[in-house]
């Protein structure tokens, strides 16, 4: 009987630089709590992807020099695929470090992820969140805005950008971003609670109450002491 882990290991025995297999093994070891192997396979996946992407790019350049446009294009596309995969590995690596509470390493992985694939929206979003924790609000804002530029439908980026805007005392922009988040996800109860808070701050108690009631309708376990006061 072979289980899926055995098959990934077999895949790597035959092809030691098989980055997709390294990534899957890293995720399996992560689930098993085997930190040593998790880290090892994340690193192996990254180095294999980078190496392969470089080889493909060089090959593409050579073909281009010989006016072999279609074949060059094929190599460049493959190189891009490798880079995209590498950025996914960095992203998963950052998730791992976040769970471990190693936020500096998570931040570094996200920066690498963005570096290799600037169009990775969720990496910009997660980096923005880490930067909020570090009170680096300008940088956090930049990354959350970038995330929205790439993927406007990401309600979480709108929501978190709204939270940044509150910290920056820009309540109008905050409201706009919360509204966008709710427009995309009308059942986003956390966002409704934040909106209720914002309305409270803006002295719009009636509106605050409306948002809080809606949030409780969607998620009954929502409880916020400050907002509970206006419910009387």
């Amino acid at each position: 009987m072979l289980d899926l882990k055995d098959h990934f290991i077999q895949a790597l025995k035959a092809q030691p630089k098989f980055s997709e297999a390294h990534l899957q093994l890293a995720l399996l070891y992560k689930e098993e709590g085997d930190d040593k192997n998790t880290i090892k396979h994340f690193e192996s996946a990254i180095s294999a992807d980078i190496e392969e992407a470089e080889i493909l790019e060089k090959k593409g350049d050579e073909l281009l020099k010989n006016y072999q446009f279609q074949n060059a294009k094929e190599q460049f596309i493959k190189s891009q695929e490798k880079k995209r995969h590498c950025s996914e590995v960095y992203f998963q690596q950052s998730n791992y470090y976040k769970v471990q509470g190693q936020n500096n390493l998570a931040q570094s992985a996200l920066k690498n992820c963005i570096n290799i694939n600037p169009a990775q929206a969720k990496a910009h979003r997660d980096l923005g969140l880490l930067l909020i924790d570090k009170k680096q609000l300008d940088d956090a804002r930049l990354h959350l805005e970038k995330s929205i530029d790439i993927d406007y439908s990401d309600s979480k980026s709108h929501f978190n950008l709204g939270k940044v805007m509150i910290l920056m005392q820009d309540f109008e922009d905050a409201e706009q971003h919360f509204l966008s988040a709710l427009d995309i996800n009308p059942k986003f109860s956390d966002c409704m609670v934040e909106m209720a808070h914002l309305k409270l701050r803006m002295k719009q108690d009636k509106k605050a109450k409306e948002y809080y009631i809606k949030a409780k309708e969607i998620t009954p376990e929502v409880k916020n002491s400050e907002l509970e006061k206006i419910m009387d």
Partner: protein
Amino acid sequence: MSNAQEHLEKAIQIHPEYADAHYELALLLSNNSEYEKSKEHFLKTIEIRPEFSLAHFNYALLLNKMKDHKASQEHFLKAIDIDQHFADAHYHFGLLLADLEDFEEAKNNLEKATDIDQNHTLAYYHLGKLLIDPEDYEKAKKNYLTAIDIDETFKEAHYYLGKLLSGGVQNDKDGTLVERPEYEDAILHYKKAISIDKNYAKAHYNLALMYKIQDKIEDAQKHFERAIKIVNDYSKAHFHLAMLLKETGAIAS
């Protein structure tokens, strides 16, 4: 030393300018992997009969084996120059050019081979493999189908046609790049390849991928396992089988 070789050498001893004897001896030596000796006799043949297209052609094949690509090209060209309807010369020259990554010229020569010999199965097949531009999708398909039409048991042609159809990357009428996979036809050709050679691991693997896309999980698993049984260290088959197991929560047998 074979009998034939002895007789040819004797003939040359008696008549040193006997081109046909040098040529036959060169072929014999080449088949016996005695490349340097073969080369001498090809050169002598060409020296005596410079317009002997077959000699240039076979000498070009020898030079290709000896990795002297530049000289090989020259002699293929010479063979074609002497006999412009020399399909095999165009075909092998095309293959050499493809190896040297001069794909456009390779395609031209393979096309020429099929123009001259409309039953040149291998030329159609290799041309199909070189037509990777989405713009050439239909043309590639046509070449594979022609190869299969001539030789129904050509398993590689079935296999590569399956790959082409499963990708379905082509240009729309307005030139837009589209992906229009033809899964059912691809499955048909993978199955055909397997029916010709039941141990064709790559065909099992690609057939499994098709079934996976179609959510025919049991069939997919069966063919991934078959591919692995044939080639134990089939890395991609292990990987995709593992992914299948991960997605379905199953255990392989």
